[in-house]
Amino acid sequence: MQQYLVKISFEAKDQIRNILEYLFFVFKSKQAYDAVKKDFFETVDRLSYTAGVIPESDNEKLRKRRLKIIHFKSHGYIMLFRVDANIATIVEVHHETENYT
């Protein structure tokens, strides 16, 4: 099975920071913060060996940008990522209830 190096854009990094800061400082739940943080790490792990086999999105605008979607295990978040050779780069992170497409 091919392994992928998982990278993240600076923009997506800011999005993750916003989500975790929100949970920690605004929602004030260390539990929620810890659980989502764990889920982020696990999803990155999963992405490192599934990036190539995940199909491209059905959405035309995402497909045009060669973006694929991976769902978090438990908390309803999704990551959009792009595969180039053996690198999977996360470009967007948001909750699945924020359905813009």
Binding site: V6, I8, A12, R17, V26, F27, F41, S74, T101
Partner: protein
């Protein structure tokens, strides 16, 4: 709440949109109960935020991560929801969403990327240090 029929809605569309913008809930009543509700964007964003917060809560509860001592009571949850600010970083439209994605793809093209796990560790370290010293 204002309830109107489709014909009346069409005739006074501008007026109904203005009322929805000002915070009124407009229900367009249609046959077979295929009703449509019009709300303004702030209300929509608030509803989405409430849904997300409830999803966190239900998710944690489902996987048994809510300890007995730390378990939220519903009243506290509801209080948190209504006191919370609208999440400022949430895109409000599809256009904003794709602008954000394109900005991120530009980062990728121009090499503004980082190892994902290292980035996550860095963020968590910043947050947890801020909590200790804050």
């Amino acid at each position: 709440m204002i309830v109107t029929k489709p014909a009346d809605f069409r005739a006074k569309q501008k007026e109904f949109f203005q009322k929805a913008y000002e915070g009124e809930v407009v229900v367009v009543s249609r046959p077979r109960n295929e009703n449509t509700v019009i709300i303004n964007q702030d209300t929509y964003n608030r509803l989405m935020q409430e849904r997300r917060i409830m999803a966190y809560y239900m998710g944690l509860k489902k996987i048994g991560k809510l300890g007995k001592d730390e378990e939220f009571h519903m009243t506290e949850i509801i209080e948190k929801i209504f006191n919370a600010e609208i999440i400022p970083f949430t895109p409000k439209t599809e256009k904003e969403y794709f602008e954000r994605i394109d900005k991120s793809l530009k980062d990728v093209e121009e090499g503004r990327t980082q190892n994902a796990k290292e980035a996550l560790k860095e963020i968590c370290s910043e947050i947890e240090n801020a909590a200790v010293f804050g």
